[in-house]
């Protein structure tokens, strides 16, 4: 029994688990919008773009997190602006702007004789190195995003489903999109430290995509996605302790297993439904 609780004995592991839980809940909740609005590309995009912020922060000697957050939010707003004003599809806009910001980061870095940035941790993340200050920041940003999700629940849902009709009814679809992009930027920055640039996209897409297989209503999808996300991050971290594996990679692989499990379950359910007489009852 003792061996099962062993990871929780270390203070850094306790912080890591708290961060994993917060990041898992946050990413997978926001992931519901990412999947339904077909923005799968955005996690990867903003995470890479934030690299420029990390380099700038290094050169100017301020906190990497702040640099990454500023560039991420600016890129997110830029994506929204170019998309709306240029009437260019969101995925194209994301593709153009994130590579531009990433290239800027490389460009700035290549100008340096020697660079001492620990890029490894930003590329792959290291949830075990989360300090108490980092944890506080994760929780604070997480609270802001959670509050915005509650306040904007209906406009976000309506504009995700039918932006034109929502706009005609007086809901500001444009402003809602900007707020969503900023919320996503903050979420991605928070998640960077735990899973890194390469894997952050998975946390924004995979749990929500798994939930999408199993539900036909929005709120259950969001709830299920949050459960899958938290299970992936906390479970992945726990497994990585015993497997001596990279925590970020283990987290993403566990999320992927849940995703394929959800697909399998959906098929089992569908074939079961085909065999029985389906009686639908009106829900309200």
């Amino acid at each position: 029994m003792h061996i099962l609780f062993e990871p929780f004995h270390y203070e850094f592991m306790q912080r890591a688990f708290a961060a994993a839980l917060a990041v898992g809940l946050l990413c997978s909740t926001m992931g519901t919008y990412v999947v339904l609005r077909k923005l799968s590309f955005i996690g990867d995009g903003i995470a890479h773009a934030s690299f420029a912020g990390i380099v700038i922060a290094y050169l100017r000697n301020f906190d990497y997190y702040v640099g990454a957050a500023i560039v991420a939010v600016v890129t997110a707003l830029g994506i929204g602006f170019v998309h709306r004003r240029g009437r260019i599809s969101l995925d194209t806009t994301i593709g153009v702007l994130f590579t531009a910001a990433f290239a800027l980061g490389i460009f700035l870095m290549s100008q340096q004789k020697n660079y001492a940035i620990d890029l490894q941790s930003f590329l792959f993340g290291d949830i075990l190195s989360v300090g108490s200050g980092d944890l506080l920041l994760i929780l604070a940003l997480g609270a802001v995003v959670a509050l915005a999700t509650i306040v904007l629940f209906r406009p976000l849902l309506y504009t995700s489903f039918d932006p034109v009709v929502a706009q005609a009814s007086g809901i500001n679809a444009g402003a809602t999109e900007y707020v969503l992009l900023v919320m996503l930027a903050l979420t991605i920055i928070v998640a960077l430290q735990s899973v890194g640039i390469v894997l952050v996209a998975a946390l924004l897409v995979t749990p929500a995509a798994a939930a999408y297989q199993l539900t036909s209503r929005f709120s259950p999808m969001m709830l299920l996605s949050a459960i899958f996300g938290a299970t992936s991050t906390v479970g992945g971290l726990y497994l990585s302790y015993y497997l001596h594996s990279s925590s970020g990679a283990t987290i993403v692989l566990l999320a992927t297993i849940i995703f394929f499990g959800a697909i399998a379950l959906k098929h089992v359910r569908q074939s079961a439904a085909r065999r029985t007489v389906h009686v639908s009852s009106p829900l309200d």
Partner: protein, 265 residues
């Protein structure tokens, strides 16, 4: 700040462009409360553009447009309900019929307000009004074309709007749905709601509308369906209308059979 005594929509010399293309050319129009206005015209005549402009989705290049007594974009949230011609939604979106119709209440609710009993009652009434209450628990992908159209009309009604805009709601729906919609529109209009609706279907315009607008980027004719028919602008319209619309009035004016070459494209 709407003026109850005034008109629901007032357009004067309204011009709407898409880049260099003039989609609406100096359209002047007044729609009072409690009127059903039908808009007919060939494809590309600007019918949808006119509805979108009224809905505040397009910005006019010039001219004046007042909706519910104010600028279209300043209209109170929830006051305009719009049902587009083609619902470009993702049919696999996780939503039941109930969920979609309930969205009609969203513009009416502040974020701290719960979706309460009143809202649920309004949604139920809207579902009843278009005879799809029994489908409330169905996922939206499980509906037929006519049922989808009814669900979107129900969502518009659930919004309890001050102005209802319907873009070809009868295209591609079965006769039963069409009649259900007509009865509903007449009931709403009798209750004082202004309804502006485009149609390709020239059948029974007399039963649907109080007035009819014939549009081909410009206003070709406006008046009661009978007056418009008498003005004979239909002759050219019917020839390039893509549906097999026929105008059936009880006593068709003989002028209907004459042709007016000047309104042909």
């Amino acid at each position: 700040m709407t003026d109850l005594g005034g008109e629901a929509v007032r357009a004067h010399d309204l011009v709407v462009r898409y880049e260099d293309f003039v989609a609406l050319d100096r359209v002047t129009l007044r729609v009072p409360y409690g009127e059903a206005l039908g808009i007919v015209g060939p494809n590309g005549s600007g019918k949808s553009t006119l509805l979108k402009s009224i809905a505040g989705l397009l910005t006019p290049a010039s001219g004046e447009l007042a909706v519910l007594g104010t600028h279209p974009r300043d209209v109170r949230t929830g006051a305009i309900a719009y049902v587009p011609q083609v619902e470009a939604v993702d049919w696999s979106f996780p939503a039941t019929v109930w969920d979609v119709v309930a969205m009609g209440r969203f513009p009416r609710l502040r974020f701290w307000q719960r979706f309460g009993t009143h809202d649920a009652n309004v949604v139920r009434d809207a579902l009843d009004a278009v005879n799809i209450a029994s489908l409330a628990g169905r996922h939206i992908s499980e509906l037929s074309g006519g049922q989808q159209q009814r669900a979107f009309v129900a969502r518009a009604i659930a919004q309890e709007p001050r102005l209802l805009l319907l873009d070809e709601p009868t295209t591609g729906v079965d006769a039963q749905t069409e009649e259900a919609l007509r009865v509903l529109v007449r009931r709403l209009v009798a209750g004082g709601l202004p309804v502006i609706m485009t149609t390709h279907d020239l059948d029974r315009v007399d039963d649907w509308f109080d007035r009819l607008l014939v549009l081909d980027r410009k206003v070709l004719a406006i008046g009661t369906p009978r007056e418009v028919v008498a003005q004979n602008v239909y002759a050219g319209m019917r020839e390039h209308a893509h549906t097999h619309g026929h105008l059936r009035l009880d006593h068709p004016p003989h002028a209907e059979h004459a042709t007016h070459p000047e309104i042909r494209p």
